[in-house]
């Protein structure tokens, strides 16, 4: 994939283990966050990069919105909601700036 100036190449490849940032912008003022509370701080695995999209956190305030890579990230379900059986998973779309190498 060629990287246009506003479409950076994905930092994480399929299979990469990542951790979702344990960050709570909700405590710091008005915001629009697409990363569900229940995966913050959790380990997951990148399923695939989905492409780069304007950051909704900026779009929500009509600010210039640089494109950010979006990923399908897979999590084990049982630890998230204390239910389900081993092997059950939850897949969530998460933007790159919410992910750290793990």
């Amino acid at each position: 994939m060629s990287a246009a100036p506003d479409s950076p190449a994905p930092r994480f490849a399929a299979g990469a283990q990542v951790r979702v940032k344990d960050d709570w912008p909700e405590t710091r003022g008005p915001c629009h966050i697409r990363t569900p509370y229940y995966v913050r701080g959790r380990l997951g695995r990148v399923v695939r990069p989905l492409g780069a999209f304007p950051n909704p956190e900026d779009l929500a305030f009509a600010r210039p919105a640089p494109r950010r890579q979006l990923y399908h990230v897979l999590f084990e379900q049982p630890p998230i909601w204390n239910e389900g059986k081993a092997g059950d998973t939850v897949m969530v779309e998460i933007f790159e700036h919410w992910l750290e190498e793990a």
Binding site: P30, H32, P36, Y38, L59, I80
Partner: protein, 97 residues
């Protein structure tokens, strides 16, 4: 457990116990006349580049909790649209009285 997180935003309700185990409505519920009017306003404002759905969602998410759960789906939209138009100076708060 994470669901007790005091930092969770009002709309961020995945897996929260009190929203579970309610019957799923399988029938398509078309908007009523009020809902259609609200959506028409939203579409017009979008066409005129006066707001986006991202802003609409941000406005819905910032509705105070008591009001959020008292309002219906399109009432939340209208509440957000009105707040956005005040924020942008298109209308004045007094106009909403």
């Amino acid at each position: 457990m994470t669901e007790e997180s005091p930092n969770r935003a009002i709309h961020d309700i995945g897996g929260i116990a009190r929203f579970r185990c309610t019957p799923v409505e399988h029938d398509e519920a078309p908007p009523d006349a009020f809902g259609k009017k609200v959506d028409a306003i939203r579409q017009l404002l979008a066409q005129k580049k006066m707001m986006t759905v991202d802003e609409l969602r941000r406005g819905i998410e910032s509705i105070p909790q008591d009001e959020y759960f008292a309002l219906g789906y399109y009432e939340r939209w209208l509440r957000s649209i009105a707040a956005l138009m005040v924020e942008k100076g298109v209308i004045q708060q007094e106009d909403l009285a």
